[in-house]
């Protein structure tokens, strides 16, 4: 008995909305970054699930790996984004020693 | 209905083989750690012109057992403000990836836990999980020096993962497969990959020294710096777990070097008696373990900025040049071995001779200052 494709997509959807809820609710900048990573992971799961289970370039061509290739790029971009995001948080922390986004809402130095 | 070896169902045999591999790995790692601790103390002693342990057992062979019993009997001291779950979990996070690495190492022609087609990627991934354990150990100790030691160690380990992977990629480009068994099978006979790809070997050797926190890169755990770094608050058998993890990691890295560059289990007599492969594999692995100990007894320690500078400014550019040249050569030539060997040996020459050349001003300054201080000392001594 094999796991249906819909189950993977359901898990991906739930994780995505958990991450989105976290971004909306949490006030700590680093935690918001972590929730964004959860969202990216959810989309990775959906992409790989579709690519491995249903990825066919029509006419029975079995080697369509566009989803998996996209996931590789998402991994790369997520790593770059975390690096730059943390650099921004650290630079803002140096200016005003807080990571609470409620207190970082003014552009005035 | 396919029949596996000894008449067992192949699915059951696959699982059974994995279980045997895991049990053997634990056995090997623990005994290997004992052997390595003893070898290290004896070899360092011989190189430092002293005796080393000789009291317990003949030639001090039982010294490690005595040490282990002492460690087990120590009181489990835990500072009150440490983060308890993370403090307890950190040795496990450092130990598990090391043990898990033994599953893909090929010991003999058919003796491998599981022949993953991504074996080398698996080993690299496990190497990067050790860093997480070290950061957690540094953080959970609730101690400024541990935190600094942990973060510095994490920085060093992350930086040296890059040359490590770049060295491995060159071999993969040449062999064409990530599977450890395929890499071993691609080097029959005496023409081993070390003659064709020596620069990748040198890069991986230096990166492996840094990845396992061995001299000359053992700043994070040196006793004279930072009070033993991230290991400060760990005593007794918890420290013993870190210690065994380090020696196990040295074994794994040596085994990878033996497999990738020196033929793995190949050696005279393996075709006739396949089980001899285990002997050759172990011998080659221990040659590298002894090489690590030799380097530890010889070279002084590098400062954190020196080792980071060396990694990012010297090793990574040269390794990238190596990969580019190797990729071009492999695509251009039908038999890429000779051009690859030429390029690699040139790069080794560039590293060995280029480093003193680019640092010649600094070396001249050293020589001048040494001469001056010697001259001043002579002036002071004369009546």
């Amino acid at each position: 008995m094999t796991v249906p494709l819909g189950a993977f997509i359901a898990v991906s959807a739930v994780l995505f909305f958990l991450g989105a809820g976290g971004v909306l609710v949490r006030r700590n900048a680093v935690v918001i970054l972590m929730c964004v990573e959860l969202m990216l992971n959810a989309s990775n799961l959906a992409l790989v699930a579709f690519s491995r289970r249903a990825g066919q370039l029509g006419a029975g061509n079995p080697l369509d790996q566009r989803g998996s290739v996209f996931v590789v790029f998402v991994l790369v971009i997520a790593a770059a984004e975390v690096a730059v995001g943390l650099a921004i948080i650290l630079a803002a922390y140096r200016n005003r020693p807080t990571v609470n986004v409620d207190e970082l809402h003014e552009m005035k130095g | 209905m396919p029949v596996g070896p000894f008449g067992i169902d192949p699915v059951v045999w696959a699982v059974l083989r994995l279980v045997i591999a895991v049990v053997l790995a634990v056995f090997l790692v623990l005994n290997g750690a004992l052997a390595q601790i003893f070898l290290e103390r004896k070899i360092q002693a011989v190189m430092q012109d002293r005796l080393g342990p000789y009291h317990t057992g003949p030639f001090g062979l039982l010294q490690t057992f005595a040490d282990a019993i002492k460690l087990l009997g120590k009181e489990d001291i835990r500072a009150k403000l440490t983060d308890a779950p993370f403090f307890l979990a950190a040795p496990a996070i450092v130990f598990s990836p090391m043990i898990a690495s033994f599953v893909v190492l090929p010991f003999a022609p058919d003796v491998v836990g599981v022949n993953l087609n991504v074996g080398l990627l698996y080993l690299t991934t496990l190497g990067s999980m050790t860093v997480l354990g070290i950061v957690i150990a540094g953080w959970a100790s609730n101690n400024k020096y541990s935190l600094m030691g942990g973060l510095r160690s994490a920085g060093q380990l992350i930086s040296y993962e890059v040359p490590q992977i770049l060295g491995l990629v060159t071999v993969v480009l040449y062999v064409g497969s990530l599977s450890m068994v395929d890499i071993t099978n691609s080097q029959p006979g005496p023409l081993v990959n070390a003659l064709i790809l020596p620069f990748a070997f040198v890069t991986y050797l230096i990166a492996a020294l840094a990845e396992t926190n061995r001299n000359p890169f053992d700043l994070p755990e040196a006793e004279s710096e930072l009070v033993a770094g991230f290991l400060t608050e760990y005593s007794g058998m918890r420290w013993g777990v870190f210690f065994v993890a380090e020696y196990g990691e040295v074994s794994v890295v040596s085994a990878i070097m033996a497999t990738l560059w020196f033929g793995g289990w190949h050696g005279p007599g393996v075709d006739a008696v396949p089980i001899l492969g285990i002997l050759w594999f172990t011998l080659k692995t221990y040659v590298f373990v002894l090489l690590f100990m030799w380097i530890r007894a010889t070279l002084p320690r590098l400062r954190i900025d020196q080792l980071m500078g060396f990694c990012w400014k010297v090793l990574i550019p040269l390794a990238l040049v190596n990969i580019m040249a190797s990729a071009v050569i492999i695509l251009a030539f039908a038999d890429p071995r000779l051009p690859l060997a030429v390029v690699n040996w040139l790069l080794v020459g560039a590293l060995v001779f280029g480093l003193p050349f680019t640092q010649r001003r600094r070396l001249q300054g050293f020589r001048k200052r040494t001469r001056e201080s010697v001259a001043m000392r002579d002036v002071r001594l004369s009546p």
Binding site: V3, R27, V31, R52, V72, L86 | M129, V135
Partner: protein
């Protein structure tokens, strides 16, 4: 005999992912949140293995657990995190946000089950060779662009945290 294994593993990994995800969003201790996020990533790698994508599973562990988690831990350790109420957790918007999330998530999750597997079975075997083939032949140009992007991110991160030397 091993038929029950795949759904069992799926259930285990799904529980790990959702549970750790909930903890990341709800908990207050940031180190626990970071490590539970690493657990989410590891269970996600297990899901990838179930789908037969072992290369991507190993990439996931290598990049997410091995690098991004450590980056976030560095970020946590270099900034002082006051655990005392950063505005109360149960502030005005939280119930609304939770309700909105549930209202959107549950229908989408139920809708997801309507995706059917295609009638033709998917190819067996790992995904190392097909992925490598696609990545370096059809998508070589985006691959090069991604490396330029990494370079830009590297330089940008260094420039952002450089202190002004007086």
């Amino acid at each position: 005999m091993f038929d029950i294994l795949e759904p069992l593993l799926f259930a285990l990994f799904a529980l790990g992912i959702i549970g750790a995800g909930v903890c990341v969003v709800v908990l207050r201790r940031i180190t626990a949140q970071a490590l539970l996020m690493a657990l989410t990533f590891a269970c996600m790698a297990g899901m990838f293995l179930l789908l037969g994508a072992e290369t991507i599973a190993l990439f996931q562990v290598l990049i997410y657990v091995g690098a991004i988690t450590i980056l976030i831990l560095f970020g946590v350790m270099f900034t002082r995190q006051d655990d005392r109420g950063y505005g109360l957790f149960f502030q005005r918007q939280s119930p609304w946000a939770a309700a909105l999330t549930l209202v959107i998530a549950l229908p989408v999750a139920f809708l997801a089950f309507s995706f059917k597997d295609p009638s033709t079975p998917s190819p067996k075997g790992g995904d190392l060779t097909p992925l490598a083939g696609s990545l370096f032949t059809d998508y070589a140009f985006p691959f090069e662009i991604a490396s330029v992007l990494l370079l830009a991110a590297l330089v940008g991160a260094i420039v952002l945290v450089k202190r002004d030397e007086q």
